[in-house]
Symmetry: C2
Subunit: 529 residues, 2 copies
């Protein structure tokens, strides 16, 4: 068995059975081995940023890594930005990067680059396999490393001669140790804080944003009157279906500080202490108001939902209600319904950010996965969907735009039978639009809703916020996406995805309804007035 | 004056007056300063790989750097692959990368990454400006560093607070020292070698591929009967108009070794010793045949055309012919015409790689710039254009696909009045297709000819060459671009570029003729049968 086949068999044996690929010559033996290892599903992408973003979306939904297949330094570089987002999402992810044959590197041929140095800037674990005998063990180690905790990027560099040489042997799966638990003393200490104060804020994030964590947070809030906030850009936020509705920490610092105003204690559970996304002249970067004491209940690498449950138990909080919503990835404790389901009415008239949000809220299918890269235009959608059916919400975790379409692609591969709604801004959609082709190729149930406002609207805001705005035309032109206007209907059809344009609220609702009821992908361009 | 304005004024004062930009919040003061420094032309791109590739194309045509404007680590990463190609082209290029404010970095906010480490993997020179007082000097140093020699990537990281703080002062331009000359002893030594052997090969590359170098190479070949070859992927190759027709070193190693077969001496002028692009099982990576002695006349960092001229003079070679073609960037020595202009006839009938090449050769405008990322489908075009009018040929220097459309964009910005013909393969076009939007926005005279064969055809070849090909469907599927078929006409129109499809040779010729006679960009999709 050659190295490539041993690598593939080890991955499959380690429960990694989807590969988002954009291969080149150095990966050809890996590609050929796919025919001998049919348990591995290869998904072709037209650009490496699609492969890495899709692997992120896949892992967010399954809790287990996918692998990418990338071509040398440039392939890893093209995938880097979405690896950055995956890193911020604590996503387990395994990169397989093909390299030149070991003996070929000294020739510094055109595609040679500092691949090792590049991998180091984005990977928590990395290895370059030196001999074919090691490839199985290295792959099994890479999968284990990707689990963290918390989940992380593991990059295995595989020289071409390691792939093509005979003598490879698959390694067996490395068991993933259980997540560490928070010691009882910490639980008790924080329970004491919450019992002693009526001005506490519980800030949850990461694994706390799933059903079990939200249920525990609801119990804690009920028995202590602590205010519950959640991080601004969660990897997966379980919403709707009567789950606890959590207020998000605001993106802009002054709004976040207002949310924390008057607090005495801030308890962190899977979230980091609030800090500004960017720095602004004369505004603080540290968003924890003076006089607030910060306590860490659970860091991202520990069992955060268990810690919240233990805290709720310590506080004597009982589970609210009786409705069981089933086990999530982290445990079987069911949260309580908070409110009767409610949806906005079917909108009509002018297509605005608000009527668009109402259309989404009115029609969102049960079990949907919402991938949110709508930047400014989608701000009304969370409120319009909070009371709707159970769905998962995947945010732009690392701030690097071009994440939405790829993550939607991977989430759909991971979740057959569920509708993915990809909320996209026009500017960010253009970073990785090639994802649409993979959605068509794999017949994925993804509805892409492009919110076209013809500008980098967030940058127009930021230009003012950093105090740089003048009334100059040349600066304004650099944030403007008209001249020419992007036609997303034409772009999507060019990649084999059916597409239509909505110019009023009725039209948008009808198109969403159609897409939600049909199999396969569709793109809807909403021209916001 | 704030730091951003001092930075811009320094760049402009250093003769860097085009900025290919994809800015974010940390670059907003730079954007705002554009209104105060109208000498700087800002060109907006929809993805950073467009910005870096365009800067490469611009510098290849002008000999001076453009600057990019990139947003933090992810922005640099998105531009990395085309920086890699620029590095391989010895292109002078200045990256301006915005960073978080210096005091903000400790918060590790979502967009924070190892920007310094990332820059190190692609830059020959890099600096992070620590204080606003330094920004002018740092920018002037960056421009100087980019000149090398040879040209190289200089990356200046500018924290947001350096941009927005008052106290900046522009620095004056650093003079670029003249290129080093090759010592007379080396010239004489190699002249002796060439006089004493009839089995010598002169391999030229880099700066030798312009008019002066080609003229000198022609004189050397005439007086010594040395065989002249050139590197496979030159940054700029001056062709047509009677210039010396140089045979390219073949891409595949066995063909390259056949070209060198029987040689006794190999003289390098601006080129590197031949090595295989990739390694293949059982095939050599080193392509210099046994028994061949390698001599370096001129390394890429010295004045290569002057060295060739000196060598020709030492050999007593006279300039051939009398036609003066004017001075190029490296000097005024004019080459001699080699042959009367000849073009292929206007093709008709089936649209094949050959009839497509004939259409291009029949119609190529005088002074055209051909940007070649056609991979397998364009192999017949060089022969069909060699005898045509004077044009420049820009190749894929670093092997990282996605270079063609961006380089064409930058070459067009650099060369108003000249038609750019961008020869693209379908697979590689999809990497950085967003360049079309910038071409429409800037009304650039670029004709993009997409050669659609519906596959990664080069990889199908490579799969066989690495000995990995089976008859398996799953491997074949991963190299296939049908399912769904890409519609480049629809894609181009979606970005505001007029587009048409050609299905026979007459149709292709008519569309090329139309595009060559009209202002602005156009895309022609040639469906090859």
């Amino acid at each position: 068995m050659n190295g490539a086949e041993a690598l593939l068999r080890t991955l499959v044996g380690s429960d990694v059975d989807v590969c988002f690929a954009n291969p080149g010559t150095s990966e050809m033996h890996f590609v050929a081995a796919l025919d001998r290892v049919p348990e591995m599903r290869g998904v072709l992408t037209l650009f490496e940023g699609i492969a890495t973003g899709a692997a992120d979306g896949y892992a967010r939904m399954t809790g287990k890594p996918a692998t990418t297949l990338l071509h040398l330094g440039p392939g890893l570089a093209n995938g880097w930005a979405n690896l950055h987002n995956a890193r911020r999402a604590s996503t387990p992810l395994v990169n397989i990067v093909g390299d030149h044959a070991t003996y070929h590197r000294r020739f510094d041929s055109p595609l040679q680059a500092d691949l090792w140095g590049l991998a180091r800037t984005i990977s928590a674990w990395q290895r370059s396999t030196a001999r074919v005998d090691d490839v199985g063990a290295d792959a099994a180690d890479a999968v284990l490393a990707s689990y963290g905790p918390p989940g992380r990027i593991a990059t295995l560099i595989v020289p071409a001669d390691v792939s093509w040489s005979e003598g490879g042997a698959p390694a067996s799966r490395r068991p993933v140790p259980p997540l560490p638990l928070v010691p009882p003393e910490t639980i008790e200490e924080i329970a004491k804080v919450l019992r002693g104060s009526e001005r506490a804020v519980l800030l949850i994030g990461g694994a706390a944003m799933r059903e079990r964590g939200l249920g525990a947070a609801a119990r804690i809030a009920r028995s202590t009157q602590a205010k519950v906030l959640c991080e601004t850009f969660p990897a997966v936020h379980a919403r709707g279906g009567g789950l606890l509705e959590v207020e998000k920490l605001a993106y802009f610092g002054e709004m976040a500080m207002a949310q924390l105003d008057g607090a005495q204690h801030l308890v962190l559970a899977g979230a980091r202490a609030p800090a500004s996304f960017f720095a602004y002249p004369g505004k603080p970067s540290d968003l924890v108001p003076q006089g607030v004491t910060v306590h860490e209940l659970a860091a991202p690498g520990v069992h955060v939902p268990a810690a919240l449950d233990a805290l709720a138990d310590a506080l004597g909080a009982r589970a609210l209600g009786a409705r069981a919503l089933g086990a999530d990835a982290l445990g079987a404790r069911a949260p309580a319904p908070q409110a009767a389901p409610r949806r906005p009415g079917r909108p009509s008239g002018r297509l605005t950010a608000e009527s668009m949000a109402a259309a989404v809220g009115h029609l969102l299918p049960d079990g949907a996965i919402v991938v949110d890269e709508s930047i400014t235009s989608g701000l009304s959608v969370p409120a319009a969907t909070a009371g709707g059916p159970r769905h998962d919400w995947l945010a732009l975790t690392g701030g690097s735009i071009g994440q939405g379409l790829p993550v939607a692609t991977g989430a759909a591969v991971a979740s057959p039978g569920r509708r993915v709604l990809s909320l996209e801004a026009d500017g960010s959609a253009m970073y990785t639009l090639q994802a649409l082709w993979t959605q068509a190729r794999e017949s994925l149930d993804v509805t892409t809703l492009v919110l076209a406002n013809g500008s980098y609207a967030i940058l127009q805001l930021e230009l003012a916020r950093v105090g740089a705005a003048g009334d100059g035309e040349r600066a304004a032109a650099l944030l403007d996406l008209h001249r020419p206007t992007l036609d997303f209907v034409s772009l999507a059809r060019g990649m084999g995805v059916p597409a239509e344009r909505a110019t009023d609220a009725e039209g948008l609702a009808a198109l969403l309804e159609r897409s939600f009821s049909e199999d396969g992908p569709m793109l809807v361009e909403a021209v916001l007035g």
